[in-house]
Structures are given as structure tokens and as C-alpha cells.
Symmetry: C2
Subunit: 324 residues, 2 copies
Amino acid sequence: MATVSRVLSRFPSVDKKNILKVEAAVAELKFRPNISAQRLVKGSNNTIGLVIPSYPGVFHSFYGIELIRGVGHACEVARQDLVLHITDGRNSLNIGYLGGVIFADIIENSGQIRSALASGVPCVVINNVVRDMAVSYIAVNNYKGGELAARHFVALGHVRIATITGNLKTQAGFERLDGFMKALDDSSISVPEEYVFRGDYSRYSARVGAERLFNLKNRPTAIFAQSDDMALEVIAVAHERRLRVPEDVSVIGFDDSPQGMSAAVGLTSIRQPVFEMAERGVHLLMELISGRRKENLHLLLEPELVLRDSCAARPAMVRSRTRR
Amino acid sequence: MATVSRVLSRFPSVDKKNILKVEAAVAELKFRPNISAQRLVKGSNNTIGLVIPSYPGVFHSFYGIELIRGVGHACEVARQDLVLHITDGRNSLNIGYLGGVIFADIIENSGQIRSALASGVPCVVINNVVRDMAVSYIAVNNYKGGELAARHFVALGHVRIATITGNLKTQAGFERLDGFMKALDDSSISVPEEYVFRGDYSRYSARVGAERLFNLKNRPTAIFAQSDDMALEVIAVAHERRLRVPEDVSVIGFDDSPQGMSAAVGLTSIRQPVFEMAERGVHLLMELISGRRKENLHLLLEPELVLRDSCAARPAMVRSRTRR
DNA sequence: CTGAAAGCGCTAACAA
DNA sequence: TTGTTAGCGCTTTCAG
């Protein structure tokens, strides 16, 4: 019995003859070691959970897949099993047994985090800044992302600057808008209410928003869409109306997705390190689980502006008209 | 000790006083029952694995997310834990302990399936027809999907019919092309080689393909793109060249994604039941695990044509020119 | 209704 | 190098 265990766990000193004998028997009987027993005796289960709220738009574009890829990859490297929970936030999670849990985006499910915390499970929140709970988080500075977009437009001389937001129930959506507006305000550029269209990350909402913006008699010369997907839709609508990008209208997206990169008009976009955030979330969680880290960590990753071809200086015609 | 267990598993006959006492202690000590011990004694671990090859394009569009959503949902309902493995096919999977495994798409990782099978783990393959291993599968009739697209074009009177394929290393891509070509052949429509562009599900490849097709002196009047994402890119390229859809060129996609539905030109597409396939995969696996089912099941789900606005009859100009 | 005790399958310490 | 043995934390008889 013990010898079998030794063979299976590649213990160095076992007689060759026995190794072969055991391996033969294992193959013969299709013997599969019971991992529950192993974990019981070892006292750890090297399993972490990933909780994703199943809210429409959470998987907007490229983001959801990058998130899962990043967490999945980091878990593979760290030899952790990854248990996936896709939840609507109502159910209580069967989480107690996990070594730790990563919560990706908080959308109406902070109760789940609270109860995980209460029962002493190590937790890390990803892609959300959390102020009302004592929990570690790694997020993107979405406020800064909004700022970057605004500042780029301002630097190019634009004055009539509009935005199509993401889902404002998500923190990312809200903060991007906030940073964007504040930065414009800093430059003394006022944004009329009809220049802010509230989308939800879907292409459809971007289409509706773009049409509304292009129908304004004082059409904006620059549009910040809060995801690449939406930005590409804005460009599509522009082309349908014979508006050139970037000559007639400049567009900035958010995500720096491959689709934006390879589009007809290369999309200028705000890059956010989703994969890295996911990976670091796993590493942080491991530190918490192992006790190597005692206090919570709050980390904000910085987005960056990626320049491509969808932005240009304010159109001349417009410039002369609005020149004082 | 035993009483604690009874309280936690809601055993009916326990004194109320004791229930309260236990609950208080549990809260006090942040007691978390050890699931490994529970599983050990119960003899089952109610955990299933989902293996997804991390091959570029596997998560093409809408498909990857629907897959994960479907499996995730079914597992939640069946009270199974879902362990996610994203693999490049090279590593051997730590799978032995799982109750069963779902393999989604086989791309250079059939070795993993073979070894899972060999060690006696119940397996289900999703989205692939498997002929060379004794394993259950649930797949979509992609051949039929290709046929549907071809027949629709033929019914509309088209003759110059082209296609932009998906990744032909995937079975789905290959079969869609096969069905498409055979159906055209049945209608005695010949497809010159330059009408078949080998894409890879990426928007970029679709763009390249569309440009090549539109540059042909004998430009096709109908294009079947093997994913909605690619189809939308084809339409975008068409618009850039002042070609109208569907008046000048008809387009069919594959996926019936929400993006195709809400696009400027509603996309006619082939619907494939990804979510359902994923759910049924889980159910099938549960039957296999429990022993309720002894033999393998091979199930082919049927795709269907969803009509929207991106297809029209063969353009008149072309018609007169090619009329015999 | 409740406590005692056996044992789930495995590993690790200890002898041999 | 190997076999024996004592638990890991829990559930489940079985008495009480």
C-alpha cells in the first residue's frame, strides 16, 4: 500500500522491480488515486475559484475571454485547479472549501464577497476598486483611461468631443466617463448633455449612440467609445454616412483588442492589461492563501494610449468656424 | 462531533437547542467543513472538468463565451463543480480525479482524450464528431450548415458564389466548407478556386479575404463567411467600396450572434445551438458518470438558417449578363 | 435524540 | 528499500 503511494508520487528510493509491478497493476485495474483522500491527508486542496457575474455585457468583447485566459493560465502554472462559477449574484456560492476565490467584476454580487470574507476564505477582487469591504483588489485605473482619451482629443485641437459610455452599472464604465469628463473640464471644454450617450458595451447601443451623435446639428468631431467593439461600430456608422475617419471624425476605443488593431482604420485605443491583471490576481491570492501576505493589497494598473489611425487633428472647416 | 455533522447537513431530528449551539460555534470559529473529507467518505467528488484547447481562434467570436456559459450554467444546476483547463494540448492533464471531463473542440489534443479514456474517466466531446476513438460526442452538423448557406444562395438565383472559411484545422471549419461545396456541386454551380478564401475566424482574415474577392474581375454576388464576425467584416469592406448589401452582394454568416442581429444590415446567418450543446454535454456526462448510461452516445444537433436582411436575389445586371 | 466508534483512501513517520 | 501503523475530518451505523 505504502509502496504504491511511493511509486505514484515518484518517491526516489523504490526498487525498480516494484515500480514496474505497481505500474502494471495500475494500468490493469485502471486505478485512479482518490484525490479527496490525498487532499484530506495533505491538508490542502490547491483549488481556487473564479466567480464571474453573468450580467449582460460582462463579457463585453475581448475582455471576458482575456480574463478567463489569464486566470486559467496562471492557475495552470501555479498548479492550482480552477473552479469556475458563473453566477447571477443571487445564489449563495458553494465556496467554503476552496483555498481562495477570485471575484471578477462586482455587479450586484457584493453579498457573495462579504459572506466569503466572513467565513474566512481568502479573496481577491479583480477589475474593481473596493472601498466598502476589507479585501484585496487589483484593478485598472479606468479614471485615468478616460482622461487619456480626453487629453488626446484636446491635444489634437478638438472641441466638440462626445462619448458613448459602457454599462454605467459597472465600475469601469462609470470611472471611464468620470475621468473623461473631468479632464475635459480641466481644459475648459464643456460637454453638452447630448454628447454623452449611455451605452452598455453592446455594438447595438454604439450604433444607436453614433446615429444620434451624427444627427446632431452640431456634430462632434471626436468620439470616445468605451470599448473597441463599440468604437468599431461607430466607425461603421460613420462610413455609412460618408463620414471619413479620422478626417471628419476621430474615434478612440478602449481595450486595444486585436479586432481594433486589424480593422480597416487602425483603431486608436486605450490598452488595459486584462491578462496581466488576471495573472497577478492569482499570484496575489496564492500569497494570501499561503499566509506569505497578511495585509490586503490594493493595486491599480495603469492603462495606456495606443496610437493608430483613427484620430486626427480637428477638421479644418470646423476649426475655422469655431476659431475665435 | 456527529451532532455537528447532523446540524450542518440539516438532518431532521436534532434538538433545537443543539442546532443553535452549533450554529453559534460555527460562526464564532469560522468553521468550514472540509470538503475533501466529505467527499472521501461519500465516495464521490461531484466535480467535472472542461478542457478547452487554447488555440488561436478557438474563442472565435461569440462561440467561446456561449460554450463556457452553457457548461457553467448546467453545472450550477446539476450542483457540480466545474474545473476549467485551458490547454495547449501538449501538457498531460491532471484529470484522473475528476468525475468526468468535457472536451470542447479537439485541436491537436486528442492525445489527452485518449489518455483520459484509457484511465477510465468518463468523457464527452463537444463540437467535434469523433470517429477514431470510442467516446461520446455532441456536435453540430456543420456540413449541413454549409449546405444551408449554399442552398439559400442558389434559391436566390446566385451563380457567382464565394466563401471565406474559418480555420480549416478545426473540424467545424472544414465541414462547413465541405457541405457548402458539395451543395453547390449538386446544383451544378462551379466554384473557381479564387472564390474560396481560407480564413481563420479572425476579422482580419475576413478583411483580407473580402478585399481579394471584391478585386476579382468576376466579382462574386454572394459570400458565405463562416462566422458572423467575419461576415460583418465582409459587409464593412463592401460598404467601404460603395457596394450595397444585399443589393450588390449577399452575405451569410455563421453563429447567429447578437452582433449580427443588431447590425446595420441584419445579418442572415446559420444558427448553431452552442449553449444547448454545452448543456446537453453536461447532462450526458452525468449519465455516463452515474452509470445510468452504458454505451456512448453520438448526437448531431442541427443548425438552421436565420433570415434577415443581408441576402437578396441575384443582382439584375449580373443576371442579364449571365443568363443563357 | 445523541454520543461512540468504525472506516472512507491516502500519506508520513517509524520500524524493520 | 519496504511494510506497518496512525491519523487526516467527516459521515454513518449502532447502541444507548
